[in-house]
Symmetry: C2
Subunit: 136 residues, 2 copies
């Protein structure tokens, strides 16, 4: 069974309807923002193809498509930091997903061994732009 409707929806159906019909890009992917359900901290941005989304819906564990490895990716399968999906939201035009997750294991999401992939903030502008450690 497919997770999504196959027919194109009208703009009203897409934005206000109850049919989940994610719009995959030309390369077959939809963007997924992943946050900690406890505090909405952004942990990572990833991509899902249709199969990854279906596996996520079927298992409750987040699966993605690794663009670098060109392979399905059960996030945390090796490290133990799998993502238990508490809620999936979709945006108005259904081309982006928001996954609210609980991270298992030691709570690390980034391959650099940090909680979040977003561990640096931009300071300054122009020629003085630089990155500094984010505060939380």
């Amino acid at each position: 069974m497919s997770a999504e409707a196959e027919l194109p929806l009208s703009k009203v159906e897409q934005e206000e309807g109850a049919i989940f019909a994610p719009r995959f890009s030309a390369d077959g992917l939809v963007t997924a923002v992943v946050t900690d359900v406890a505090d909405n901290h952004v942990l990572m941005v990833a991509h899902m193809n249709r199969e990854a989304l279906q596996l996520t819906l079927d298992t409750g564990i987040a699966h993605y498509w690794s663009r670098s490895r060109k392979a399905l990716w059960k996030k945390g399968e090796t490290s133990g930091n799998m993502q238990q999906v508490q809620e999936i939201r979709v945006d108005c035009d259904q081309d982006a997903l928001w996954l609210r997750v609980s991270v298992q294991g030691d709570g690390v999401t980034c391959h650099t061994n940090r909680r979040s992939c977003f561990y640096r903030a931009v300071t300054g502008s122009g020629a003085t732009t630089a990155l500094v450690p984010a505060q939380d």
Copy 2:
């Protein structure tokens, strides 16, 4: 002046360094996750080209690239709901940005007149998948 370094960085420099060198995709865009700085609620997912990012850094007001209109987009310019950028974070491989913003005006981000574009949650799986209003 450019906001970003022009030379490719090593993996260590990209992930651990202080040089802001966002990696634009083949179509010249980088993904931006936009959250409310007050509570990290995800408001929208958008895209920036180099010019939009530069304008954002220079003005402190979020600018994007509208893929549908193929034009620079000063978010909220018409509605008054402009986004004052409090912080920009970048992820480990510098191909995604996290903008933490304060929304001006009446606090609406979505063109459907809602606070966030993510106003629906996915329920069920398989043939029973449907969208319901999100709880907050």
